[in-house]
Symmetry: D2
Subunit: 132 residues, 4 copies
């Protein structure tokens, strides 16, 4: 489980709040972009996984907001798989911005593998292989 | 088609932007609360309509943002049915706030009646009756 | 630091995703409602704190999503202060729903006290007192 | 006032709802991306305009949702200036997707030019010139 993918995202006005920074709740959509891009780079799309009756709902998350992210910033979300097993999958994220040392935020999400009715199922072998 | 319903909503910080006002795109969730409450008051819930294989996607909308809506404002969304026919349904909205004359915003949404696969269908007779 | 406040929130369609449940990123706006209500119940509003040049940005969060939250659910967010010091403040949250045993989600947020330019400052004595 | 700009946007899971399509309220953030990109292409950023004490709040909008936009779709927002005068500015938008004939949605937004305290002001001559 090595290697991270990079997603470049331009911060939208819609994502700011009246503190003049990006609202913390909006970061989770960026992390979603990060893991979606990672999957696509590894050769599978989440859309396709859904068609194969797999869902990966977030069951736990944690995030540290270290420095403000601002409107119109071009941020980079670095995503890597931190853990993968039969029915669990976890990702780690860092948000970076050119010209700022160190991450602006760090986070993780843990996911369960379930079918379309929410029942636990195992990750398909090819997906396990792509992510390991 | 007369009578409006009233929904009281407290504006969330998440709904503001760095202009220090509520972001225009977030109003549409408030209008959704408005028509959901109207349906519930008339005796049917949208959740129940979905279980009866009815969906009411928005096919057109228009809105005027007349005065800023601010964080922590307790706004009132006044919703009424403006038009209802076999396969169409429209709502009109006004947003008010105590202490301010006239609406802060006005809007409408037009909806198609479709089934779970997106095919046009007629509104059930009892729903038509509740909304007429 | 005892006693929790209760916020009742109706889940919006806008807050669901195509998995048919509430999107995890949207929970953070509910937690915000929770702590806003707690402050109001204790006798101070966040809006007023901003006017006194205090901001409480989220610097860390963690959440466990234990059971799905569904469209139109009437959820209860139970919020309590878990830690308060000169320049830090933390809240804990539980989301409950009538008819379901145990929380649907648990979470915390940690906040820094800063002024309008983002510089650390101490919590005012009256706020410290209300929250302790 | 001719020429449109093109913004390519990947639809996020966060932007879907339980109807299995993108929620209509989320389109307005895409239109915002469209006009932001148009300004940048013309040589000015909205961020910079804010630093020059100019704000362009949306005062009116209208949208037609013609065909569903789906999760993971790579859509193209085509934006053009439809009207510009001393203190007003309007944009028109079309959303397209490869492989689908005709727009998936069309919309407009009208904006007032105001200063940081919300008072009407004129568009700067250089901005007028870039947009005309």
């Amino acid at each position: 489980v090595t290697g991270h993918s990079c997603s470049r995202i331009r911060v939208r006005y819609a994502e700011t709040d009246q503190m003049g920074v990006a609202y913390h709740g909006g970061y989770f959509a960026w992390f979603e972009v990060g893991r979606t891009d990672l999957l696509r780079e590894r050769g599978v799309t989440y859309r396709e996984l859904e068609h194969r009756d797999l869902r990966l709902p977030v069951i736990e998350t944690g995030a540290r907001f270290l420095r403000p992210v601002l409107y119109d910033d071009l941020i980079e979300v670095r995503t890597r798989v931190s853990d993968v097993s039969g029915a669990r999958l976890s990702f780690e994220y860092e948000i970076h911005r050119d010209g700022t040392d160190g991450p602006l935020a760090t986070a993780f999400t843990a996911h369960a593998a379930v079918n379309g009715r929410g029942r636990p199922r195992r990750l398909p072998a090819d997906v396990l292989s792509l992510l390991s």
